[in-house]
Amino acid sequence: MSRDRRANTPAVARPGATGVVVRRAVRREPTIANRIVSVIDRSAIHFVLALVALIWLVPTVGLLITSFRPRSDIQATGWWDIAQLHLTSENYQQVLQAQGMFEAFLNTVFIAVPSTLLPLAICSLAAYAFSWMNFPFRDTIFLIIVGLLMVPVQVAFIPVLTLFRELVPQLELTRGYVAIWLAHTAFALPFGIFLLRNFFITLPGEMIEASRIDGASDVQIFRSVILPVTVPAIAAYGIFQFLWVWNDLLMALVFVQDSSKYPMTRAVLNLLSQYGTEWHLLAAGAFLVMVVPVIVFFSLQRYFVQGLLAGSIK
């Protein structure tokens, strides 16, 4: 028996197996039981991962299918009723044209891009100062900023809004995008400064000292030495902030008061309140909101994962 098994082992291990498995098989000759256990071990993990992914995906897939189904179908059956599947792009046309979703899309872009670039610029400069410049109370100020992470944004809405409307009423900040740019920027600063500072501080101090001896000013050090080596961290934070702003509804409700400047999230909300049961429009609108974040995430996920890791454990 045992001779049989030995003869079988390489043949079993070879097809489709990785080099590691082949080598292990040759070296240690696992029994059939061993192999079954290891397969189950690994498939247990895969099974759980697949399950999580499935649970996560079901509503999204449902939304996607719903958004392409005609109104009558949606009201008759659920999206899982594949037998009754008729696809149409009419919902999208209607949402984009009649419901002003395209304008809302542009509004969201106008809100999200400056609301990402402004915090990026301010946070990276501040993070440089907090990690590599000497000034009085540096660490105390940094601690206070970290402490601000604990303050929920909702707490600050009323005071900030009052500030915008009553302290500088002539600027009419809330009529345009300025109010929401400033609000998003302000609320992003504590986390951004915290994240980037903790990454910058891991850079070798000698590198910065060397550039200082080489004759670089702080601005030159920041631009020529720090920025190029911290692109992953900055990109990760940028993506994070962009997604946050893109998906934001609450801040938009408070700080954008001109209805022609409403972002997509608010436009979807309007769909809901105007047509409480118009699921076909709602699904299409919601999916349009999601498209950009999904594209951003998949095209930049390398930075996203790398940067978050780099910031925390490097």
Binding site: P204, E206, M207, S211, I213, A216, S224
Partner: protein, 364 residues
């Protein structure tokens, strides 16, 4: 080319005094080594010369200029760091030219200096590579190159060889010396390695606990250490020490350990010897000043051999003379065998005597 002068430099970190009243003058074109165990303040001293650290009090002059309030970039210095501190995102050319561009050196001049330095350091074929594509030795050369192209008044080097493996370190040591003979730039070199210090320094400043112990040439440090610490720090294997009392025995002034008596060296003679009478001292003799007896003089002792370390060109034996143990460097032909007795002679004329309390050398 410039002198560097430190006058009564103190550096305190909170309650800790890292550098304590350091006064030092580095001569023009000199290669001065700051050496000492870790935490002795040598790197802090170097960083203060660089301007990366501000002294608590005292004055630093580079050339004739007081540089206390001059930022690093305006001190006309270049520094080589222990971990090289290259710019990881720039290739070698950009690493070398970064500083020059900031000083608006004209392009032809930058090109000339980089080519010169690269040829001198043997890195001319690596100019397009990024630091991560270089070996440790190559990175080290780029770091040196970055200092050279600046053509500064002073080089500051902070343990530049300590990240290299032993063989490369010996070679780079020689290369650095050749380089210094060529460019003749005043250099301050920090190391914890006494061999590096001895082989490279025109003069060596030995530091300990923030205090300068002795400033001398390698020969001077070796031949007449100022105190017990320097005596033990310089030389490998280190000097043998044993405690004893100075006594008059049969008309001769001897150091008596209780079981062994050895004569005072001639440098402790006359008044100094008389003053030392009855005092507790530490007697020091280097392993190389102990020989197998061959009739050419020296103070004879009979030693029991406890350990023999064979090194090829020599053996280092741990010998025991009536309870006093010491290390001797002998010829492999001396016939030292573990457990056996061997007649040795101590060249006591080259021995050193230190006050047991103050640890300072006693000499007449």
């Amino acid at each position: 080319m410039a002198t560097v002068r430190l006058e009564h430099i103190y550096k305190k970190f909170g309650d800790v005094i890292a550098v304590n009243d350091l006064s030092l003058e580095i001569r023009d074109e000199e290669f001065l080594v700051l050496v000492g165990p870790s935490g002795c303040g040598k790197t802090t001293a170097l960083r203060m010369v660089a301007g990366l650290e501000e002294q608590t009090s005292g004055d630093i002059f580079i050339g004739d200029r007081l540089v206390n309030d001059v930022p690093p970039k305006d001190r006309d210095i270049a520094m080589v760091f222990q971990n090289y501190a290259l710019y990881p995102h720039m290739d070698v050319t950009d690493n070398l030219s970064f500083g020059l561009k900031l000083w608006h050196v004209v392009r032809d001049e930058i090109k000339r200096r980089i080519e010169d330095a690269a040829r001198m350091l043997g890195i001319d074929r690596l100019l397009q590579r990024k630091p991560r594509e270089l070996s440790g030795g190559q990175r080290q050369r780029v770091a040196l190159g970055r200092a050279i192209v600046r053509e500064p008044k002073v080089f500051l080097m902070d343990e530049p060889l300590s990240n290299l493996d032993a063989k490369l370190r010996v070679q780079t040591r020689a290369d650095l010396l050749k380089l210094h003979q060529r460019v003749k730039t005043t250099t301050i070199y920090v190391t914890h390695d006494q061999v590096e210090a001895m082989t490279m320094g025109d003069r060596i400043a030995v530091m300990r606990d923030g205090l300068l112990q002795q400033l001398d040439t390698p020969e001077g440090l070796y031949a007449s250490p100022a105190n017990l610490f320097v005596a033990g720090f310089i030389g490998s294997p280190p000097m043998n020490f044993f405690r004893g009392t100075v006594r008059q025995v049969d008309g001769q002034t001897m150091v008596d350990t209780g079981s062994v008596r050895v004569p005072l060296p001639p440098r402790v003679a006359g008044g100094a010897a008389r003053a030392a009478l009855g005092r507790e001292v530490v007697y020091g003799i280097r392993p190389e000043d102990i020989e197998a007896q061959n009739g050419t003089g020296g103070w004879p002792v009979r030693a029991n051999i406890e350990v023999v370390e064979y090194l090829g060109n020599e053996v280092q034996v741990h010998a025991n003379v009536q309870g006093v143990t010491f290390v001797a460097r002998l010829s492999p032909r001396a016939g030292a065998r573990v457990g056996e007795d061997l007649p040795l002679s101590l060249h006591t004329e080259r021995a050193h005597v230190f006050d047991a309390k103050t640890e300072d050398a006693i000499s007449g």
